[in-house]
């Protein structure tokens, strides 16, 4: 018997992972949550049928969404993380002693509970005393905040499910309001390759650009995400992602990473021409 997990990367492209067991499956109030065990990727978490993380490649995503902004702004004390129920982003943030407080806002508490059980290596820091978890809608949470956060990380699902509200102009505007004078917003920015993802990517960029004075996009290679070519958004009020990078400072922290390094930091903002064009002209 062969058991395969298949995700549609586009309406005519599929990506399959051979699995040997389904460990968990439930329809929560917001989405369908599944955990599988696979030979190649270890355990994998799928939400509404889309791979969110696998044990084998989650380090890439979490390194890139956390260390890039943290190497640009060294005095980050107060962080807001939206989404991130799997705990990986929190784990990476908690490696910085400078951080005093993290508000974690996840709409679906069930995701946190499932990950605690099946991905203990990712949720190690969920009980760190600096972390406060709020199980509510991110858009709802952020609109009451003003000038509070040095860094906001939007670690969301795609804009076609419960994450929809986190790709809207009102959300970006409310985030701008919630950030300090030199604050940074980093977000999961979809992929430039398949048409639907690319459209969402362009739309997000256009909306962020309308709100933030500094606005850049960087890339990483994430094998289990559609096309493997994935983007992140960096938006700031004053800080520039490369000019304000403090390599010496970051390297002095001695944080061991498997993907991120400060050389890669400089390179990851260099985008292919077709992506640059899309970001400039839309689709």
């Amino acid at each position: 018997m062969e058991l395969w997990f298949t995700e549609n990367h586009s309406s005519s492209v599929r990506f399959s992972i051979k699995v040997d067991k389904q460990l968990y499956s439930e329809q929560s109030e917001y989405q369908r949550i599944d955990v599988f065990r696979s030979e190649e990727f270890g355990r994998l978490l799928a939400l509404d049928g889309y791979v969110m993380i696998t044990q084998k490649d989650e380090f890439i995503y979490h390194d890139m969404i956390v260390h890039v902004p943290m190497a640009v702004k060294k005095d980050v004390k107060n962080v807001l993380v939206i989404g991130a129920g799997d705990g990986g982003t929190i784990r990476e943030l908690c490696r910085y002693d400078s951080i005093e407080h993290i508000d974690l806002v996840e709409i679906d508490e069930k995701v946190v509970r499932v990950c605690e059980k099946y991905f203990p290596e990712m949720t190690v820091s969920m009980n760190d005393k600096r972390v406060s978890a709020h199980f509510t809608d991110g858009l709802r949470f952020v609109r009451r905040k003003q000038g509070e956060y040095d860094l906001i990380i939007v670690d969301s699902t795609d804009p076609f499910g419960p994450g929809e509200g986190l790709f809207t102009p009102e959300f970006y505007g409310n985030c701008y309001n919630a950030l300090t004078e030199t604050g940074i917003l980093v977000n999961q920015h979809e992929s430039p390759f398949y048409e639907n993802d690319a459209k969402a990517m362009c739309r997000a960029h256009e909306r962020i650009k309308a709100v933030f004075p500094v606005c850049a996009v960087y890339q990483a290679h994430i094998p289990t995400y559609a096309s493997g070519h994935w983007l992140f958004g960096f938006a700031g009020k004053t800080l520039h992602p490369i000019k304000d990078l403090d390599e010496e400072y970051w390297n002095s922290l001695g944080i061991k990473t498997r993907y991120y390094n400060t050389e890669l930091h400089k390179g990851c903002f260099a985008l292919p021409n077709y992506v640059k064009e899309m970001l400039e002209n839309g689709m």
Partner: protein
């Protein structure tokens, strides 16, 4: 007692489909097969429901079987003596009730902030309006309901009037003391007509303003397609015990189509069943959505989402708390500007914006996520767009000066003049912002400088002005 679990039209359509009747009748698309592109777009189930009147499916113009039965069940659900299925919009229901009670030259007492369909009925039938000033909330700049005292005065001054017409509620959710007004009308031998285009839920929700039928109205025009969930253009006309069913049917048939749509009729039937069985829970949910929105929006500051705190026992007798009306002038933006920004910058379409307010329609179809999107967007609009409010026009309602009946004016000898040169003349046509479709000027009313200034301001702010023959409203038809 008829069972509210039944839905006779829906059941008959299912049975009709199962029998696989061979159609040699209209519509010519024949269950969609003749129009594959439309079928692909609307779906095959939809096309197969679009069938013709026939013996098993009854006939809307002269119902004797399943439509008759569905109307009886609906009447019972609404506490009415009779219910009529209307497929030409609530406009047709409003017109039918006005035409049923007053003939040419006879009077109907009504507030001036009626929907255009009410005045249209006067053009068609030749009845004469006796306008009662609706109260105006100066702060919000909106017209309210009628006070019972003002109605009583109008009744005493016009003892020959045939009926009193009440908005229950207004577009903004404001109710008059309809119970008292019904008593006054009846004690003077007049009918009470309730325009309940925005009041379907009064019949099913808890803690709602009183519904027309339970207040003793003789007629109520109920837009099922607004809060009731049926398809656009479907509606009910309800009547009470003193009204002749057959006569009302004749009046409806003067103007209603003889090819009643089964899509619309089945949507009325199924929606009535849903409201009768689940309406209480449905509207509890809608109330909680609207209350959440109101609290959060008021919390932003600068906006005022008003509610029952404005009830004064008079022109603001009661308020429909499912309505989300928000006053925006204090952030320096006209409602219509907020309405446009919401759509253009945030991808949010609300019901309407006028000079000082917006109205977002809240219903069972809403999702919690979307409530937060609306609040988040209003928050962001205030941050980005708010400005000084000086110089903003603050009123929504201008007392009309009626010179001629709407019918005389509409059919009178007219000529076109540039609108800015029309002050002092008598208008031969309507001018209104749509939505909400409440006339600024109606046929037979005197054009004043104040009205012209208002029209100009509304146009500049981006209101969609309609009603005149000249689609650009550069000229207006005035009476010779």
């Amino acid at each position: 007692m008829l069972s509210q679990e039944r839905a006779p039209i829906y059941e008959a359509l299912k049975e009709y489909r199962a029998k696989r009747i061979v159609p040699f009748d209209v519509p010519g698309h024949k269950m969609g097969r003749g129009n594959p592109q439309l079928t692909e777009f609307l779906g095959s189930d939809c096309m197969m429901t679009d069938v013709n009147s026939s013996k098993p499916l009854d006939n809307l113009c002269h119902p004797v079987s399943v439509i008759k039965e569905a109307e009886q069940i609906a009447a019972e659900a609404f506490g009415a003596k009779n219910a009529f299925f209307i497929v030409n919009g609530t406009t047709a229901a409003v017109q039918a009730m006005a035409l049923a009670v007053a003939k040419r030259g006879e009077k109907i007492i009504m507030p001036r902030n009626v929907h255009r369909s009410a005045i249209n009925a006067l053009i068609l039938g030749g009845a004469v309006p006796v306008y009662v000033n609706p109260g105006v909330n100066k702060e919000l700049g909106i017209p309210l309901g009628m006070t019972a005292q003002d109605v009583e005065k109008a009744i005493k001054e016009n003892p020959d009037a045939k009926a009193v017409f009440v908005n229950n509620p207004t577009y903004y959710g404001v109710c008059s003391d309809i119970r008292k007004i019904a008593e006054l009308a009846h004690s003077h031998g007049m009918y009470l007509l309730a325009d309940e285009a925005h009041g379907t839920h009064f019949y099913f929700g808890e803690g709602m303003p009183v519904s027309g039928m339970s207040a003793g109205a003789d007629f109520a025009a109920v837009s099922m397609h607004k809060s009731g969930g049926s398809l656009t253009q479907s509606s009910f006309l309800l009547t009470g015990g003193n009204v002749s069913e057959g006569y009302v049917r004749q009046i409806i048939n003067l103007m209603q189509t003889t090819s009643g749509s089964y899509l619309l009729m089945s949507s009325l039937d199924i929606s009535r069943r849903n409201l009768a069985l689940n309406g209480r829970e449905i509207f509890e949910k809608v109330k909680s959505y609207a209350t959440y929105l109101r609290d959060e929006i008021n919390d932003i500051g600068g906006y005022y989402a008003f509610s029952k705190e404005l009830c004064d026992g008079g022109a603001f007798y009661d308020f429909d708390i499912t309505k989300l009306s928000v006053h925006t002038r204090d952030i320096g933006l006209a409602g219509i500007e907020v309405y446009d920004i919401l759509r253009d910058k945030y991808g949010i379409q609300i019901e309407f914006g006028d000079i000082g307010n917006i109205l977002a329609y809240v219903s069972i179809g809403d999702r919690e996520l979307y409530l937060d999107r609306l609040i988040g967007a209003l928050n962001d609009i205030k941050r980005i767009y708010s400005k000084d409010k000086t110089g903003m026009l603050d009123h929504e309602y201008i007392n009309p000066i009626v010179m001629l009946s709407p019918q005389e004016a509409f059919y009178g000898n007219k000529r076109s003049v540039p609108i800015e040169q029309s002050a002092g003349k008598i208008s031969g046509e309507f001018v209104m912002c749509y939505p909400p479709g409440i006339p600024i000027l109606a046929p037979g009313e005197k054009i004043t400088d104040e009205i012209l200034a208002y029209i100009k301001y509304a146009g500049e702010k981006g209101c969609f002005l309609t009603g005149t023959e000249d689609l650009e409203i550069k000229t207006i038809r005035i009476l010779e």
